[in-house]
């Protein structure tokens, strides 16, 4: 959990661009929110049953994370530490509700299939975690990089998990109504185990092992 701690002050000699890039890239693999930080796992079990849901959820998390990181970082010097958590929650909940209203009005199918998990982004620990650990202590620009990196890392994780679960569990892949492919034997006898929650645990566990291994290789 070391990478959760902020190390911004130790690298004064580096250019803004390289810090921005570093904060962005770290979310993708070495501190991937799902596989390495293991944050926000609960909605993953629920929404990775199909690629559509996973991408919709990923987009939602990126939007909320970006907006809340910007606001919280902007207000970081004015926010009294006594009420910082309530402030974070209000900011996050506001953006989640905005997102939910937009989805309901303009992408009803996605709003329908994400259901309760869309509103539950409020309590997704990735967003509160990034607010507390990063945005409340860092300038706006780096907070944007952090939000994009972590958000994209989350989306990539959702994408990989849902790709495997949908392919194995239904024997084919449908993206926003278009059938990408349908496997010959699997579509007639799909492994429905992978669509259910235990299947999600198995897929996440294996991927987590893979990402940890990649992370270890990279750090050495």
């Amino acid at each position: 959990m070391n990478d959760l701690r902020d190390k911004r002050e130790d690298c004064p000699g580096r250019s803004v661009g390289s810090i921005f890039w570093k904060e962005f890239v770290k979310g993708l693999v070495i501190s991937n929110p799902v596989f390495i930080l293991t944050l926000g796992l609960c909605p993953i079990l629920a929404v990775t049953t199909s690629i559509d849901n996973a991408l919709g959820m990923g987009a939602g998390v990126i939007f909320v994370l970006l907006c809340s990181n910007i606001i919280i970082s902007t207000l970081r010097n004015a926010t009294p530490s006594l009420v910082r958590i309530p402030v974070f929650i209000v900011v996050i909940a506001t953006f989640v509700t905005i997102l939910s209203l937009i989805f309901e009005a303009y992408i009803p199918a996605l709003h329908q299939s994400l259901g309760i998990y869309l509103s539950l982004i409020v309590v997704n620990c990735i967003i509160l975690g990034r607010a507390e650990v990063f945005a409340s202590k860092n300038p706006v620009l780096y907070s944007i990089a952090d939000a994009l990196g972590i958000g994209l890392g989350y989306t990539i994780a959702l994408f990989i998990i849902s790709f495997l679960r949908e392919t194995l569990g239904t024997g084919g892949l449908n993206v926003f109504g278009f059938q990408l492919f349908s496997l010959p034997v699997l579509s007639e006898h799909p492994l429905t185990f992978f669509i259910s929650s235990p299947g999600a645990f198995l897929v996440i566990g294996l991927l987590m092992a893979l990402f940890r291994w990649i992370g270890v290789v990279k750090c050495e």
């Binding site: 049953t49 009294p80 937009i102 309901e104 009803p108 309760i116 239904t170 799909p190 669509i195």
Partner: protein, 178 residues
Amino acid sequence: MLKKMMSNGAYPVVFLTLIVLVSVGLLSWMNSITSSVVKARQEEKIKSVLESIFPEITGFDTEEEIYITYGGEEILGYAFITEGSGYGGDISILVGLDVDYNIKGVEILSHTETPGLGGRITETGFTDQFKGLGADDVALSKDGGKVDAITGATISSRAVVEAIQGSMIEIIEKLNSR
């Protein structure tokens, strides 16, 4: 200036209140924009489903949550929306009845069932089974009715069937007492 303000004991209270006020303002503004879109879409959806169940429809009236569909001057049938409690949440179903109170068509408006299992209640293979059934026959085959449950999704299937049967009996009573 900011430091001096922040040392005041009331500052946290004022700050949080301001944040909440901004949030409330923003959300009510967003809601006023989107709520009309959502409402229009729901009506649109109901209309298109009614058209698919009653192809000859020229118009419809609503009376105590019952949709009365007309083809010209003649009554084509009735429709109602019912809610079932499925495996993953509420299932909203629109049911169309002909003038003899047999089912003319069933359409799942919304659900949160598991894709690939309970989610298959939206498929025509399941919903077409209801066509022509009277209230007594709307039950799963294993419960003595005429609807086959989806393999691996008995809870979802039963939720649909029971919601339809329950509301159908009520609606028919209402229609008869008119």
